[in-house]
Symmetry: C2
Subunit: 240 residues, 2 copies
DNA sequence: CGGTGGATTGAGAGCCGTCAACGGAGGTGG
DNA sequence: CCACCTCCGTTGACGGCTCTCAATCCACCG
């Protein structure tokens, strides 16, 4: 009977959720069929183009979003306009700061992005009832904290060459999470300006360091946005 | 009858916990008398002197600790020895990365520190049973993530003068969480070397910037470690 | 074909790191 | 009580890395 009941539950999974990455590795994996069905009635899928603002800094948070495709950049700006990228989010991350009245970052689509938008009350009431859901949200927060602290080392203690190598290595690892012994080819989800804001450098310095990596044969540049790394281990060494 | 029951519960609060800050603002505030009593049988209070290592990077985590007094610094090092402070923890923060096999930072006593050490199994089993406890742990993780991202802006986009001003302002705010309109006097919990590692600078640059703030009348230096700020708003402006 | 926005490359300046010398506080021993 | 040592912090001189400003290139598009 249990297996039959499980099959029934599976058939309850909303059509849109059935092939959704968030249901496997994302936060929706913590929900049973019934909860998923209820939640899916409140959500909607949207597409956002590069550069579109998803969440504004210091504004009330009305909704959270599962990132289903593309890359979202989280930024902060100083009063005089200096900007810093403080995080990148990939599928199936949850976008939005839980348990805060206002956002503390600006979230912007870095590439074309597909989102599953969850109204704030829907997610917060579900989190109150579902400890597994809250647990998944916490695990993501802890992972983001680890990543932020890793990046603080890069920002504070690495020189420009090491910073750019670290960025490329991080992107390659995210796109292609295989081991370090093979080659890798990928599209950069960020413009030179975004990369500079991520690394605490200027556009010109980023460009010079990328040119140097190309001249040294560490990377090959197909397009401005398309890069191949013949030897990931060699790039890894340059990260400092 | 309810009030009587409550009194009974209060009397169950372990003696050591009764005046403990962690029971009010820290994670123990999520526990009832019974849970607190059970937990207190597994914990022990210890004192650590400045410079003592509390948790080693890449080592298994055997225990968590409530910070009861003093300041703990979290650091990461590159292979060639370059060091970055990635976080500071004050009372009543919980020390230790939950739900990870190994620590990803080194934790070291920056000042004299009092800890309430909680064995790992004790806290993890309690978290499994108590959603409010897990919720508090998550709230701390989210707060630390906010702080880490704030600091990334300082590391990536501020010059040396703004970095040092930001550090002093952050310490003043932590020690003296009043509004910005008044004066503030406090002891620096970190040496010049630690401050440099926190700001991604050298000892010499930190020293020069502190001397400049003194020459400009923004701060007064009583001791190497003891500083007064006559006008916090003026310091705030210098943070960029 | 010219216009536009992003990326690259070059020249010069300025900020901060490096190296070095000096100073002051605290501890120890004669 | 003083001499001495050590550790930490300060100050100075100099050089290099990265920023700034500017020109140019390239891809894309009307």
């Amino acid at each position: 009977m249990q297996t039959v009941r499980k099959d029934i539950h599976n058939s309850e999974v909303p059509v849109l959720c059935q092939s959704c990455e968030a249901r496997h590795q994302g936060i929706c994996g913590a929900l049973n069929g019934e909860q998923l069905l209820a939640l899916s009635k409140a959500t909607r899928r949207v597409r956002r183009e590069p550069g579109e603002e998803l969440i504004a800094d210091a504004m009330p948070i009305n909704a959270f979003s599962n990132v289903l495709r593309g890359v979202v950049k989280l930024t902060k700006v100083l009063e005089d306009g200096r900007q810093q990228v403080v995080g990148l989010q990939f599928a199936p991350d949850l976008l939005g700061r839980p348990f805060a009245a206002e956002s503390r970052v600006t979230a912007e689509a870095a590439s074309a992005v597909d989102l599953c938008v969850i109204p704030r009350p829907a997610l917060e009431s579900l989190m109150k009832d579902s400890a597994p859901l809250e647990h998944r949200v916490m695990m993501q927060a802890l992972r983001e904290l680890d990543e932020a602290r890793d990046w603080m080392v890069t920002l504070g203690r690495k020189n420009a060459a090491e910073k750019v190598a670290s960025f490329l290595f991080m992107i390659a690892s995210h796109i292609d999470p295989t081991d370090e012994t093979v080659a890798s080819k990928f599209d950069l989800p960020l413009s030179r300006a975004d990369i500079a804001d991520f690394l605490g450098l200027t556009i010109e310095t980023v460009s010079r360091q990328i040119s140097k990596l190309k001249a040294d044969g560490v990377i090959e540049i197909v397009n401005y946005r398309h890069i191949t790394v013949p030897d990931l281990a060699r790039l890894r060494v340059l990260c400092g």
